[in-house]
Symmetry: C2
Subunit: 293 residues, 2 copies
């Protein structure tokens, strides 16, 4: 049967969620959106399943999350019927947000589009970009943004953090920064990692990679904070990376400061090839082995 | 008796507050901070009274609020005694935040300083600056920032809003934008009023004046929104301003989008003279007549 694949661009405040992935008895972003889609297609009991670019942990936020969902012809017709056939992407987005807003204020669907041929939210991405926010002793502490900013009591040396961050870029085995998981590769390309201060003096990390292993961004940030405090020397950090075993020289920082801000896809013509390439690379270990992408 | 005047720079998320000003049975910013200071000076039942630059309404936020408080010698000594005399401004700030954080997560004291001679948080300011945030149909809707951003369902014409805003600048009788209050002047100098979009496309109003009458910023924003929707013509807005009577051609917008971001004071040597000038100008009507400054 013919199916219609929709791409959803999604933003959420992760504070009140037990992460993206559906779990029995817990409030998750996936469940809120899947329930809304089931309502939209007028089959509240129908199974609809979202496939996501980044399975964020509990407390992690997103402004640029991407997911896809396959609708059967019957489901797609149910949506169209409700509007006498006049289903535009804009009206779909509006209707889905209307359903969600009735029960959840912390999720927004930025856009619904019919996905181009070959598009796979999880396997087609070129890279994911995260941001981590830290207000330290030298910056303003804005209570309006406290749920998505880590407040650090002392001052951090951002030049040292930025230098350390940049030194970690490139293709490496990031096992030192990954929660170990049998059979899963920890080799990643860290395309970007830098620290700056914004206009309010808040430290902002930009972390961009083809994909991330579990808790990798928060470990990379924890390492930089240790450097910023003078507790970890730059060359020690290099040795930790090279050793490629889970390190305990620095803590994994809190989820609240972390936001998935962008997922980048190749041009439409290359979507299918990219997905196949990613799948081939991860095939031996299966999907369960790579939870956070 | 000699008193010590302290200046407090304050930030708060206004969402869970019934505004700044103490009111029986309601949670207010003033009460949270006054209670914390009473604890700090070890006289929990002692009357301490904060004087503030901008008496913000329920739901309005602040990142740059300023207040002062006068401590008696006895109170000041009580603070010093707790630290064996080593009372620095930094340690005072830390201790006050520690007391507040035990019960409130939505207020931060950015800094406590001993105020210079002649300083008056309410009467010395040269100007107050507010910011108003609107996410419209053409901008991103960031759920992390939903408690301090107005979400407007349709697209707003920011060029028209900016032009209208700029035309309101200058010394005028702003009665059209003020909740009337007997005996209170509505003549103000609007030093700045402009609309821009930030990196996420969110509309940001900057509104700066020597002082504001009650609900003035939210009426100025409401007028601009009406212009941005094409519901109010630019020249009609000019006529409304000139008429100088409370207008109903536009609504007062929601408090949640509004933040007091800065209060500017003159150089120390001019603080006293500035306060006297302001007091003389407002004296005939008394303090109760001018609630939002």
């Amino acid at each position: 049967m013919e199916t219609v694949r929709l791409r959803l661009d999604i933003a959420y405040d992760g504070t009140a969620f037990s992460g993206w992935s559906k779990q029995p008895g817990l409030r998750t972003v996936q469940e809120v959106i899947e329930d809304a889609i089931a309502t939209l297609v007028r089959h509240p009991d129908l199974e609809v399943r979202l496939v996501v670019a980044g399975r964020t942990d509990a407390g992690v936020h997103a402004t640029g999350q991407v997911a896809h969902i396959d609708l059967t012809e019957q489901q797609w017709r149910a949506i169209a019927a409700a509007r006498r056939g006049a289903t535009t992407e804009a009206s779909l987005t509006r209707r889905l947000n209307g359903i969600i807003a009735a029960t959840a204020k912390d999720v927004v669907i930025s856009r619904v589009t019919v996905a181009p041929e070959g598009f796979d939210a999880r396997f087609s991405p070129l890279w994911r970009r995260y941001e981590y926010r830290i207000a330290d002793a030298t910056s303003g502490h804005d209570p309006r943004r406290r749920a998505h900013t880590l407040w650090h009591p002392s001052a951090l040396d951002e030049a040292a953090m930025d230098a350390a961050a940049r030194s970690l870029r490139g293709l490496h085995d990031f096992a030192a920064f990954c929660k170990p998981r049998e059979g899963a590769t920890t080799v990643r390309t860290l395309l970007d990692y830098e620290w700056t201060r914004d206009a309010e003096g808040v430290l902002i990390a930009t972390v961009r990679a083809d994909a991330f292993c579990h808790s990798m961004v928060r470990a990379l940030v924890g390492a930089a904070v240790a450097v910023g405090l003078g507790k970890l020397e730059h060359d020690e950090l290099t040795r930790i990376l090279d050793a490629a075993v889970k390190a305990n020289a620095f803590p994994v920082v809190a989820a609240k400061g972390l936001t998935l801000v962008e997922v980048a896809y190749p041009p439409d013509a290359e979507l299918g090839a990219r997905a196949e390439l990613t799948r081939a690379r991860r095939e031996p270990v299966g999907r369960a082995s790579d939870p956070s992408d």
